[in-house]
Symmetry: C2
Subunit: 624 residues, 2 copies
């Protein structure tokens, strides 16, 4: 992408700065296009620098604390700091060096001519340059300029950008009623508007252009003169991109197609009438990557600002700074591309840990949940666990007050995040299953794990697993609640499923959870109990990592049944056949007991609003 950007910079000349006259009050953050000189002195009169008495210096000759000089109050004048020193006086004695005795002033210090008097122009002289070409106006400038009598400023006009969404399948976001299958609401312009607004640049969004080269061509020709930068939002279709390139080529020079970046690869740029025209990929995250990595620096280039790549990236991402952390797990980066990873970050035992969120360029959720972006260089392929990477933050995060939960997925615990936040802390979660959580805790990779693991030998929950993973460490345990596990089946139970035995029916297929998930351990236990071999269960190998995900497979007919909790069935409007009740337990190391996040977690468990919400959904029984 850096190469693409450099090539763009070479191919497109910066704009001749367009001038705009504006009031000082409306100039915050804008760049001056001329030196500004003061129109009046500050102060514009002889002002006292202190609270005290204006007088003639000669009158204080010989004064000392031991032998104060006595003056009639009529020969001097009280003056406040900043007040006018009348022409008949040439100095001000500080009030601290005087005392009053009836109508007489006792002065205990001899002062010289001009003492404590600020001459006109002491701070700023009329005609003096007080702000310069290139200054970006701050609140401090604004106050100074107005104080110096300046009203209007010549500032650099901002580059004008037009975004044109395209695609037959794209509907306006304001579309009323349910979306037809195969259509996509036009949300990329919302994303871009937000980014442009953060950056302080204007953005105009055009109407959606259908998949018709003539229409795109027409739209570009019509708007070429009124804008400095045109962005075309591609739909996701391969055919479409081809015609965009064709249209670009027919109007000007195609500068590049594809960039070596993931996501963001299908970006494209042309120079039409000397102006840059970019095609942004349709996937939201791809669009963000190209917006931050190319569009923002290009806006800076158009303004004639120097190419400072590190700084541009930090500003493009929102100026929340960057922070180094160690990769939580190994990551393979595809060869030949620079990869932008959406990551979350945590601090644990003084170590900062970073991990990429799952989901491709199409995932709006991962994009939204990420704390920021880490960039894996093109030449980097295998990134081992523990490798240091730099996270460019796009949010303000408070690492000291945030905990990482790894373990069994549970929607009730997920809902604890808000009460924890109300207590000024935060929790991020990774659903890695009960066993995965205990293993992560034993490696010191989370503050908190949760499990519901039945031991087939003893038929008791959790104890044997915790003992195994804990080793010599001190861990605290706490049971949160019992929850019902059961069979999630389609509404009305059309296949007449009634028990675990039915899972072996050849006309049924299930969806399972990942190895190490407590629910999968439970399924294995239940199957063993009924003497059913997994190979007789159709779909046993199809895995989901959350209850809700499993339920959704049932809801969309991809499976007939899943073992899971009642809340997931309810959320998907499915039927639920209770099988058993299990204890859900959290575990955390002794040394985390005082962590503000753990303290908040434990306090949040008593949150009545949260409990009432869970009770309403049902399928949970409180332990106390």
């Amino acid at each position: 992408m850096t190469v693409a950007l450099r090539y763009l910079r070479e191919s497109i000349a910066p704009l001749v700065p367009m001038r705009e006259r504006t009031a000082v009050e409306a100039s915050l953050g804008r760049a001056l296009l001329e030196d500004v000189t003061a129109l009046r002195n500050i102060p514009h009169y002889r002002a006292s620098a202190v609270d005290g008495y204006a007088l003639r210096a000669t009158m204080t000759a010989g004064a000392s604390p031991a032998r104060p000089v006595r003056l009639s109050l009529e020969t001097c004048q009280w003056v406040n700091t900043g007040g006018l020193v009348e022409p008949s006086f040439d100095a001000v004695v500080m009030v601290e060096d005087t005392s009053l005795d009836g109508s007489e002033l006792l002065v205990s210090k001899a002062i010289t001519v001009g003492a404590n008097v600020r001459p006109p122009g002491d701070d700023v002289m009329r005609g003096q340059i007080i702000a310069r070409e290139g200054d970006v106006v701050t609140p401090q400038h604004q106050a100074l300029l107005r104080a110096a009598g300046v009203e209007g400023l010549l500032i650099r006009a901002l580059p004008r950008t037009l975004y044109l969404p395209t695609g037959d399948e794209i509907l306006p976001v304001s579309y009323e009623g349910p979306l037809p299958a195969g259509t996509v609401p036009e949300t990329n312009s919302i994303l871009l508007r937000g980014l442009f607004s953060r950056w302080g640049f204007p953005l105009t969004v055009g109407d959606i252009i259908p998949d018709d080269p003539a229409r795109l061509r027409q739209a570009l020709e019509k708007n070429m003169d009124a804008y400095d930068l045109l962005l075309v939002g591609a739909g996701s279709a391969k055919g479409k991109k081809d015609y965009t390139a064709e249209v670009f080529s027919s109007l000007g020079d195609l500068l590049f197609r594809w960039v070596r970046t993931r996501p963001g690869r299908p970006a494209m740029a042309a120079r039409i009438k000397g102006k840059p025209v970019l095609c942004l990929p349709g996937f939201p995250m791809s669009s963000v990557v190209v917006a931050m990595g190319i569009v923002f620096p290009l806006l800076a280039h158009l303004q004639g600002l120097p190419a400072e790549e590190e700084k541009a990236l930090s500003r493009a991402l929102g100026s929340f700074g960057s922070e180094e952390g160690e990769l939580l797990f190994a990551h393979s980066s595809p060869p030949g591309v620079e990869e932008w990873l959406r990551c979350q970050m945590i601090q644990i035992r003084g170590k900062t840990i970073v991990w990429p969120l799952p989901g491709g360029a199409s995932s709006m959720r991962a994009m939204s949940e990420a704390d920021g972006v880490a960039i894996i260089a093109e030449e980097k392929l295998e990134c081992p666990k523990g490798m240091k990477i730099l996270l460019h933050k796009s949010k303000e995060i408070s690492l000291e007050r945030r905990i990482l939960f790894q373990g069994s997925n549970d929607p009730a615990v997920e809902r604890l995040i808000s009460p924890i936040r109300r207590l000024g802390c935060d929790m991020v979660m990774r659903s890695v299953g009960s066993v995965g959580g205990l293993a992560a805790l034993s490696r010191g990779e989370c503050h908190l794990a949760a499990c519901h693991l039945i031991d087939p030998e003893t038929q008791s929950y959790n104890d044997s697993y915790i003992v195994r993973f804990r080793g010599n460490a001190q861990w605290r345990r706490r049971q949160l609640f019992f929850r019902q596990q059961g069979l999630i089946v389609a509404k009305g139970n059309p296949k007449g499923i009634s028990s675990v035995e039915d899972l072996a029916r050849p006309d049924l297929s299930i969806v399972n959870r990942q190895p190490g998930a407590g629910t999968r351990v439970l399924l294995d236990y239940l199957l063993t109990e009924k003497n059913i071999a997994p190979s007789f269960v159709k779909g046993y190998d199809r895995q989901c990592i959350t209850h809700l995900d499993a339920a959704s497979r049932v809801a969309y007919g991809l499976a007939d049944v899943a073992l899971g909790i009642k809340m997931a069935a309810e959320a998907m409007d499915l039927d639920f056949l209770p099988i058993t009740e299990e204890p859900y337990e959290i575990v955390y190391p002794e040394e985390c007991h005082d962590h503000p996040g753990i303290v908040a977690f434990l306090e949040a468990l008593e949150d009545q609003q949260w409990r009432a919400e869970i009770d309403k959904i049902g399928g949970y029984r409180w332990i106390c």
Copy 2:
């Protein structure tokens, strides 16, 4: 100030969050007050994850590159990435794994049911929480929320702040015509508006309240209910502050008077009807210090956010980050107060150097020119040269492209800053006199020095001084121009001054420049030439550090005559009696020759616009 702030936090309860409903599009940067659940699935239909052909997976059984499966195109359907996979199909084969042969499709890979098909809800499921209470809305959230069918959000209303300027001497900034002596334009509200706007908080500014306790009381009572925070802008008068405290006490509890901070000491706070009311000091810089150090964190506290002092300071200053540097010269900090220094910063030979700008709390110019603020802790008194201090930046600065000029003050060189900036670089200047500049250069404390120093022995300029200071270092020299030095006298020369000899007249007083200034060296040379001892020259010991400053003393009748350059006389509309012409020369170390700032400086010397400007003013003669 930290103590004052903590006390305020303890005394004032955070606001009960006020709720506000807003459109997703208008919610950027605002905090959510509730969890938000998706109203529809993303995708909301079975979508293809690739460009390819939708088909039934069983049709591909046994396919391999060596033995592709042949299918009629009628049994499958082309589908774009993101496109609808019709219910009759259960998988999508990537276009890369196919080829066309007439009306037949050759599939070279066997795929399983569900391959490359994203089920509905694959990214986001209806009913799933997609943004949480406490989230600060990002562009990414906005796009996600709208894609999930969410239109409105419940967000935290921002605290409402009212600023009430006070003071009989304060005039509206829009005041027409010349300001009467002793009045001050009301610019603190402009400063506060700018700061609030950067912070993202609303600010209402009231009318100026005259110095009348009853009027202030009335204004507070009237606005108490409509605002969450009231700020009273004190004039600078001591008497006034007294009555403000009185009014505060009569309406509620006075929490503190004075803070141990400089500037900013006269801050005051009260709790009236449970709400915080602050009195901001009148001097602009004092007002900024209290705004950043108390008002901003208080706004965070009112919103119930945790007290994160470091972060709050960085955000209050504008999120330009902080950087450590070494003090350029020793600084004495007053005892018992935390001192906020307005500083500039430079990088030289890999070392970062910081220095405080001169001027007290009243200086709007220093406030505006500073790169940021360094805070000297209360217990720190003597800060030796080279001490590390942390600069909290309030501007974006590019240290690699910036040079520091130290040396003789010259207005023409000052005007070079803009052409240098047009070349993408920057220059900051310290007027330390010709000798001071050479000394700084010899210590490696600037990139560039300038001098015009006559050697009384040889009557030649600069050579002997440069040889003395250079030592073994390699320095480059370049003469920029000749400039006229002469006597600056009042308009019309009322005292009939005609030559250097007149400076000894008992009815005249002069203003001199600081020791080491080339102009002072010249004066000494001229006096020696005429056999006049300095003790015969009245005002010989009164010092200014710039030509303009010296001229202004003459303009305001504080002196009758000063030696200086023609430009300064012109700027102040004074008369000028030429005495001599001197060469003005710059010097820089060999190793700085390639510094982008020096390159830009040398290039800027050829700037025709700059030369024309200087020619217009007059008193300069170009060397080439």
